[in-house]
Amino acid sequence: MKNLRRAGYFLKGAVLNLTRHPLYSSVGILTLCVSLILVGFLGLFMWKADQVIEEMSGGLKLTVYLEAEITPGAVEELTRVILDSWPEVDDVTFHTHEEDRARNRNLLPRELLEELDPSLIPAQPFLEVQLAISRVTEARIDKMIEWFRSLAQVQGVDEVLFGADKISVAYSLIQGARNLGVFIAAVIVLAALFFVVTTTRLIVEGRRKEIQVLLLVGATKNFVRIPHYIEGVLQGLMAGALAFIVVWLLQHQLLSNLRAEALLQVPVNLLPTGMGVWFILGGGVLGLLGSALGIARYLRLSQ
């Protein structure tokens, strides 16, 4: 009963804080909101960037040349073994003798083709193995290259073409880009947290005298702190909703811009509405964290 009453006073304190100083509450909410936009917007961009890199690099492929007389059963068996052994493999497709010839034709200069008997163009059936870069890990990459190299000894397999170097480099490139992304994300998240904490700290400073009064009339630190936390969470939830709307509008604008100007096949991968929940939750957590860090040092110093 008494606890319920106390909870009521905490909530009331939070609402008083929120409503009685419009400057503080609007700055509080907007700071959280802009921070979330920064993090959310750049998160979005980085997430897409991962996709873009994956697409641009054309993925990592290896070609397993087969002997001309291989049976469909053996092909199927080989495909299964590859898929089962390596979760990194995204897809294995079989290409026939004719498909290979068509591919080789395309590699030849026009002038040459005119003088050439089509049957002279060499051809061979092969398996195209597509790796999912995002699933490739540093630890397994060497083992994988080794395994595929040894595949050449298997019955029915003629040769494995893949340039181990190329895979390593592409992998490194992607890893580098990802590192860069993490680095930038870290800088931005830290900056956002910094802004949220300093803003809260300034607001607490502006309320210094009021907090002192509360302490002087016998309020415990929790009596001061808990409404402040609740206020932070409430602000965060509002800021999260606001930020989601803004980021959604921004990316909408940005994507239609890109599509119009750059003739790009950007996927219409709009920010899913479900993300809104994450924004709001993130806002709440950020608000709580900011208010907690913002008041902590202050309360530790005051009696």
């Binding site: 009453r5 509360l214 009339v217 016998g218 009696q303």
Partner: protein, 229 residues
């Protein structure tokens, strides 16, 4: 009678070197009514700060209700303060809360039910002529109105110890008398009351014990009032 408050050879030196209290020893019994007086800067407010554990004595002991304030754990300080109703010299109202909320805060801290709070706050406000200012904010009040809000907040929860620092500095003579009567009444109900003041008028009106401070030292202690001396 039991000593409600004991100052035993208390010295308070502020950072910067000013000695605000210098070897002060005082005993105040439960249920007493005491004036503390002395010129500006004598240490009256400092004495009150020590009672509230707002400051720690540089040396000597301060005991309030037999608890040594210096040895109090930080987490116990709020519970000490809940037993002391203080009228601060500079009022210390919360600017962003209404007069009603300012007075109610002492009771909310105690976790009293909303209904009790409403009754008690309304009652004390009417008593001090603040009834029409319920929803005003402190910066919108006159000096005397602010002072009365501070007084209302100090007495609303009927604390066993009431400390008033210059509680009538902004009040006209008629209101001053009313406020003093209010404190006297609380004293009659058993509360220990300490009033720090310069006002001779105030002290002359009542026959009570009066402690004289000067430059941080207790220089005199006697009964005041028309028939004293």
């Amino acid at each position: 009678m039991v000593a409600m408050i004991t100052f035993a050879d208390v010295t308070k030196r502020y950072p910067g070197g000013i000695i605000a209290l210098d070897g002060v020893s005082v005993d105040i019994q439960e249920g007493e009514f005491v004036f503390v007086t002395g010129p500006s800067g004598a240490g009256k407010t400092t004495l009150i700060r020590l009672l509230l554990a707002q400051e720690k004595p540089s040396s000597g002991q301060v005991l309030v209700a037999r608890r040594n304030v210096r040895a109090l754990r930080e987490s116990s300080i709020p519970f000490l303060r809940r037993n002391i109703g203080v009228v601060f010299q500079d009022f210390r109202l919360i600017d962003s809360r209404t007069v009603f909320e300012n007075i109610a805060v002492t009771l909310e801290v105690l976790g009293l039910p909303q209904k009790t709070i409403r009754t008690r706050v309304t009652h004390i406000m009417d008593l001090l002529g603040l009834g029409h200012l319920m929803k005003s904010y402190p910066p919108m009040l006159s000096g005397g109105e602010q002072q009365r809000v501070a007084i209302a907040r100090a007495v609303v929860n009927d604390p066993p110890l009431i400390v008033a620092d210059e509680p009538t500095g902004n009040l006209d003579p008629a209101l001053s008398v009313e406020v003093m009567d209010l404190l006297k009444e609380a004293n009659g109900r058993g509360a220990t009351v300490i009033v720090a003041t310069h006002s001779r008028e105030l002290m002359e009106r009542y026959r009570t014990r009066c402690i004289y401070l000067e430059r941080g030292q207790k220089v005199d202690e006697r009964m005041t009032g028309g028939d004293a001396e």
